[in-house]
């Protein structure tokens, strides 16, 4: 620790700390533009000048590391003149168009000028003119005249994200921030540069000229569009959310968002959003539909008993809403048929659930099935940050495709579809064959994994011997759970932590509220429904045709159930089967907590009122309890937080039972179909993000494309077990020949109709795009 004095206050900080950060610890504000702790020192803006005793010149607080006995003055005549000079320089070519600038009122150039700047300008020469409101991409504008060239945006994209799509062009006073070759930036982290920009140079297109800081109200919230649960700040104006920004949380995150989360807030005002209800195919006042559903409930229970009613929770509901629904279903209705909507079959025991800190601490990360860039983007950024730390890190990938990217070097083991568990078990067997858990796991294991033996040994060695192992798992292969349990036993005290990357984003919270988390409960309900044992099926935010892995079963169940009721932000697929559809009050409209993939509870404050007749869960339940003539007092003070674990869900013991990994039944077909999550295709529509939705989301290798006669894009027919889907595909150079990737949840190409595995493939047409 280094001891130094800043403005007569003593402080001890670790060696290598910059004066600016040491001062911040003392609550002393040193103005900065270019410096950002996540990006490290640059020294470009010269705003943070301070006086260090015994140094001949003023020093920049952001680039000067502390030294023992250093005496720093952050004020004084020389410092004040230096800062005043820098601000005067920054303003000479600045357009001073604050009255029409979105940043006006929340701008560091305004704030620092007010605090430190000269009272009037002396510059009388012509100002340099540059591009105003030029495009970075569909979501971001650049005003080069307002730019102070702090380089935060350029450095973030280049060094932090690893996608150098922004650069400095020109030199000297002509320098501007621009995109490479004037092409729009495609990175899905591009929106962060808006938050990073200290002035009004990088602007959000959806927020452009929409509001001033005194028209808006900001609320701390949480993004619910994927299981990462990034902390956000929503801007509400006149009953609409008009902007989402990242919200840094000390010690936990810098507040980065992906573009999906930042710009996807407009689902709330989507034209298809339910704002009234539907009753037997007709639009109807929600109050009337609610009363009708209450009547049905009462009738079904009276005639068939409470177990003839089933509840499936999902979607974007808060933990508290799920708890109210659970309480209602159990205590008021009295049914035991409860389930959580799931789109993958895997399950992760709470005891194995890791946190993002496990990514920071890990010396080895294994990606099982999942490509974090596509499924949980900000986790990809966290991995990038971990890579930037100089400590060694091994990253392995076990999936039917290579998971390595320019931004994230992954030692990728490409499996056959459905053989991730087998490969992991085989690797484990090579490194710890003698362990009873491994013996149990690999009993009867088919050894033909088809992967390079060296690579397998390396993976096995890492799995067993890494000091801190963190895995990401997409949950598509349920057998992986057993591998993880065995792995934890083999590794004993060495941490083995897993981050589940599947949705719905709050599945842990809904589970915490009492709904069984495993898919079996849902499958049982659907089978019971199909077999006529369920009279009334209530889907709370769940869209099973889209989500459940076996679409045929869902369709059969829908046909067999006499009374199908749904609540949600949007009408579920197959809505013609539903007798009643009720509008949901969604994220940003209700207060509550969401549990993310870390099993961490995060509170969200509402920004706006629900639109139209959309209502929170409790009001529907209260109405139905009334119809059932039973008391229902939703426990308002139910607290999902735990005394011991704070904002994490209570810890549980890691299970010990290890099931053997079953041998794979070999199928034959033209190609192997596999699936995965694209966060852009998660079923929540966004008009703003339309340009980012891929027109040809399916992917095939160049080799297969040539075989099928497709040069870049095409439409192909994929069939399996007598079911067929049409998939628009594009060529993906990273894909292994013989594989076809179709993301989950595509409305027009539902992969859950055919399921993963061997498929027959035929070309329908080649598509030429401009």
């Amino acid at each position: 620790m280094i001891r130094l004095t800043i403005d007569d206050q003593e402080i001890s900080v670790p060696e290598g700390t910059m004066i600016a950060d040491a001062a911040a610890k003392l609550g002393i504000d040193v103005p900065v533009y270019c410096y950002h702790e996540a990006l490290g020192p640059l020294g470009a803006c010269r705003m943070c000048l301070v006086q260090v005793e015994k140094m001949p010149k003023l020093a920049t607080a952001c680039t000067t590391a502390v030294a023992e006995g250093m005496v720093v003055h952050t004020g004084g005549a020389a410092v004040d003149k230096g800062r005043r000079g820098v601000l005067e320089f920054l303003l000479i070519n600045h357009p001073l168009d604050c009255p029409v600038c979105d940043k006006g009122g929340e701008c560091f150039l305004q704030d620092y000028t007010f605090q430190y700047g000269p009272p009037a300008g002396r510059f009388e020469e012509p100002k340099i003119q540059k591009v105003k409101d030029g495009p970075i991409n569909e979501f971001i504008l650049v005003d080069q005249e307002r730019c102070v060239l702090c380089q935060r945006c350029v450095r973030f994209m280049d060094e932090y994200v690893g996608e150098p799509e922004l650069l400095l062009e020109g030199r000297g006073v002509e320098t501007v921030v621009a995109t490479v070759d004037k092409k729009p930036a495609t990175s899905q982290f591009s929106g962060n540069v808006i938050d990073l920009c200290p002035v009004g140079a990088l602007l959000s297109v959806p927020y452009h000229h929409k509001a001033r800081p005194w028209n808006i109200e900001r609320q701390e919230s949480v993004c619910t569009l994927c299981p990462v649960g990034c902390t956000t700040q929503t801007t509400g104006r006149d009953g609409h959310i008009v902007r989402v920004e990242g919200r840094p949380v000390p010690e936990r995150g810098w507040g980065w968002l992906c573009d999906r989360g930042r710009f996807g807030f407009d689902f709330a005002v989507n034209q298809n959003r339910l704002t009234t209800s539907w009753l037997e195919g007709r639009e109807e006042a929600a109050a009337r539909t609610t009363r009708q559903v209450g009547q049905w409930l009462s009738d079904v229970i009276a005639q068939y008993g409470p177990d003839a009613v089933a509840f499936v929770a999902g979607g974007l509901h808060t933990t508290e809403e799920a708890h109210q629904l659970h309480q209602f279903a159990r205590e008021v209705v009295g049914t035991n048929r409860l389930a959580l909507s799931r789109d993958v079959a895997g399950y992760l025991p709470r005891g194995l659930n890791g946190t993002f800190e496990d990514l920071t601490l890990a010396d080895a990360v294994v990606l099982v099935g999942t490509d974090p860039y596509e499924s949980v983007p900000v986790v990809h950024l966290r991995l990038r940050e971990r890579l930037r730390a100089k400590r060694p890190l091994k990253i392995y990938g076990v999936a039917p495709r290579s998971l390595t990217r320019d931004t994230l070097p992954v030692d990728s083991l490409v499996t056959h579809v459905g053989e991730e568990a087998q490969l992991l078990a085989a690797a484990l067997k090579r490194a710890a064959a003698g362990h009873p858990a491994v013996a149990a796991l690999t009993r009867g294991l088919d050894e033909a994994v088809g992967v390079d033996e060296d690579q397998l040994n390396r993976l096995g060695d890492t799995l067993v011997n890494a000091a801190h192992l963190t895995l990401l798992w997409d949950g598509l292969e349920p057998d992986v759970e057993s591998v993880l349990v065995a792995l934890a036993q083999v590794r004993q005290d060495k941490p083995t932590r897993v981050l589940p990357t599947w949705g719905p984003s709050n599945w842990r919270g809904i589970e915490r509220a009492g709904f069984p988390g495993r898919i079996d409960a849902l499958t049982e309900i659907l089978e019971d429904a199909r077999d006529g044992r369920i009279q009334m099926l209530v889907l709370w935010g769940a869209d099973l045709i889209r989500e459940y892995p076996d679409q045929a079963l869902v369709r059969q169940a829908y046909q067999a159930v006499p009374l199908l009721v749904a609540e949600g932000l949007f009408a579920p697929d197959g809505s013609e089967s539903f007798l009643a559809i009720l509008p949901q009050a969604g994220p940003g409209e209700v207060a509550g907590t969401y549990v993310n993939m870390e099993a961490r509870l995060q509170m969200a404050n509402p920004s706006v009122q629900p639109p139209g007749q959309a209502r929170p869960t409790k009001s529907y339940l209260a109405s139905w309890a009334h119809a059932l003539k039973k008391p229902f007092m939703a426990i308002d003070d139910w607290d999902p937080y735990d005394d011991e674990s704070g904002d994490l869900l209570p810890a549980e013991a890691i299970p010990t039972a290890v099931k053997p990994v079953p041998a794979r039944a070999l199928e034959s077909g033209d190609m192997e179909l596999f699936t995965g999550v694209l966060v852009i295709e998660n079923g929540i529509p966004s008009d703003i993000l339309k340009p980012r939705v891929p027109a040809h989301p399916g992917r095939i290798s160049a080799v297969d494309a040539e075989k099928l006669g497709i040069s870049q894009h095409g439409l192909i027919k994929v069939s399996r077990h007598g079911e067929e889907i049409h998939v628009p595909v594009s060529v993906d150079a990273s894909l292994t020949p013989g594989r076809i990737f179709v993301p989950m949840g595509l409305k027009s190409s539902p992969v859950n109709r055919v399921g993963p595995g061997a498929v027959e493939v035929a070309r329908i047409e080649e598509v030429h795009t401009a």
Binding site: F89, P126, V173
Partner: protein
């Protein structure tokens, strides 16, 4: 005047850039001697004893710089800075165009001394001829076995790469040079770490000026004592001065340090052209303050020039005569820095723009009474507050010009015209 040639031997021997001619006059013998008679540490000591200081401008002792390399087994690089773009300086240009083999020989000796296996020359983009000459000379050196694997059976191997910049003055700053050499935008890097610890590709790197390295063969040949015998106690050896302006024989002159400025101008450069008198002299390239004629007897060594109020710099000696308008000269130089500022840090980027505009207006007869105080204040806001030395370099001449020729600046404002210029400014159409 007693001119002898150790660096600019091409001025003495015709076709000295040709490999055979160079060899006939003892070329590469110093290399043979260095490899045969010296251990690398011995060469570093030799350079330390010779008192050789960096000839690029800063004058840092070369041997001491070499001693900063960490001994941690990482690869090391030698980078030769041939991005000579300082107005008034053209010594490296003559060396690479007319005496390229001496630089290459010096690079091999230096690389051997510091343990580098790869060496780079970063050649200014505009020096096409120099680049071609160097590239040819490197090829010849390879062919003769002076480069490549196991040079002269010494077990020492070296590869030299000649790289041509894209035309930016800032890339003469060593860390910006390294950025550019690595293929990035030529912006200066944060120091520390210094290049000796983390330079090219993050490896320990020595960046030396062309002239510095060209000194190595004569030092090895004639010894450290010979070299140290020239100059003063702190400024040893030889220095090339590039003399320009209205002198009779502008050009490069190789003189022992501490030669008086007057001797350089009157004897070497042949004195002023007929009818011209000296108004002031910029002794060390455009980045340094000017010296007035009363300082002409200043010995040209690092310490004496500082005492006289300027710096030795790169040795670009610009002689301004009585026909020069000091405002116009200041404008021209500040404009140069405005064009060459990389734009990274605020004071340099904006300050040079502002100063150049004011000076242009003043020279056009459109100055007002506040301009001089604004100029001095802007210069003060640049001074010592920039990321790299370019900002400070931009104000050196202008501030000294205002100090010594304040009357002339004030006359421009007062008379709304340039008192020296024959041209009558058309203020209406300005």
């Amino acid at each position: 005047m007693n001119q002898s040639f150790y660096l600019l031997r091409n001025q003495e021997v015709p076709d000295f850039d040709q490999f055979d001619v160079y060899r006939q006059h003892g070329g590469y013998d110093a290399l043979k001697k260095a490899l045969a008679e010296y251990q690398p540490e011995g060469l570093v000591d030799l350079v330390k004893q010779s008192g050789l200081r960096g000839r690029g401008g800063a004058g840092f002792p070369t041997g001491v710089k070499w001693g900063f390399l960490p001994k941690d087994g990482r690869p090391r690089y030698l980078v030769v800075n041939s991005d000579e773009a300082e107005p008034g300086t053209f010594k490296d240009r003559e060396l690479i165009e007319r005496n390229p083999h001496q630089l290459i020989e010096g690079m091999i000796i230096s690389s051997y001394a510091i343990g580098a296996r790869e060496a780079y020359v970063y050649c200014r983009g505009e020096f096409l001829e120099g680049y071609e000459q160097l590239s040819r000379a490197v090829k010849e050196a390879y062919a003769a076995g002076f480069l490549g694997d196991n040079i002269l059976d010494s077990g020492f191997s070296l590869n030299i790469f000649v790289y041509r910049g894209a035309g930016a003055y800032i890339c003469g700053e060593e860390s910006a040079l390294l950025e550019s050499l690595e293929g990035r935008r030529g912006n200066p890097r944060l120091k520390p770490p210094f290049p000796a610890v983390a330079g090219l590709y993050g490896m320990p790197t020595i960046v030396n000026n062309v002239e510095t390295i060209a000194n190595l063969p004569p030092i090895v040949t004639y010894g450290a004592e010979w070299y140290a015998s020239m100059g003063t106690e702190k400024s040893h050896g030889l220095k090339i001065f590039s003399v320009s302006g209205r002198v009779n024989r502008p050009g490069n002159y190789e003189v022992p340090l501490a030669t008086p400025l007057r001797t350089l101008i009157d004897e070497y450069a042949g004195g002023m052209q007929e009818g011209r008198t000296i108004k002031c002299v910029i002794p060390g390239g455009s980045s340094v303050p000017l010296l007035t004629p009363d300082k002409l007897d200043t010995p040209l060594d690092y310490e004496s020039i500082v005492q006289a109020g300027s710096m030795l710099g790169s040795g670009g000696c610009i002689v301004l005569d009585d026909s020069v308008c000091i405002v116009k000269a200041a404008h021209r130089l500040v404009k140069f820095y405005r064009e060459e500022s990389c734009g990274k840090c605020t004071p340099c980027r904006e300050g040079t723009y502002w100063m150049a505009d004011i000076l242009e207006r003043m020279e056009a007869g459109l100055g007002d009474e506040n301009d001089l105080s604004i100029l001095m204040d802007v210069a003060d806001n640049i001074n010592g507050k920039c990321f790299c030395p370019l900002g400070d370099a931009s104000i050196g001449f202008m501030v000294s010009a205002i100090k010594h020729f304040r009357d002339e600046f004030e006359a421009h404002v007062r008379e709304h015209r340039c008192p020296l210029g024959a041209k009558v400014y058309d203020t209406a159409n300005y």
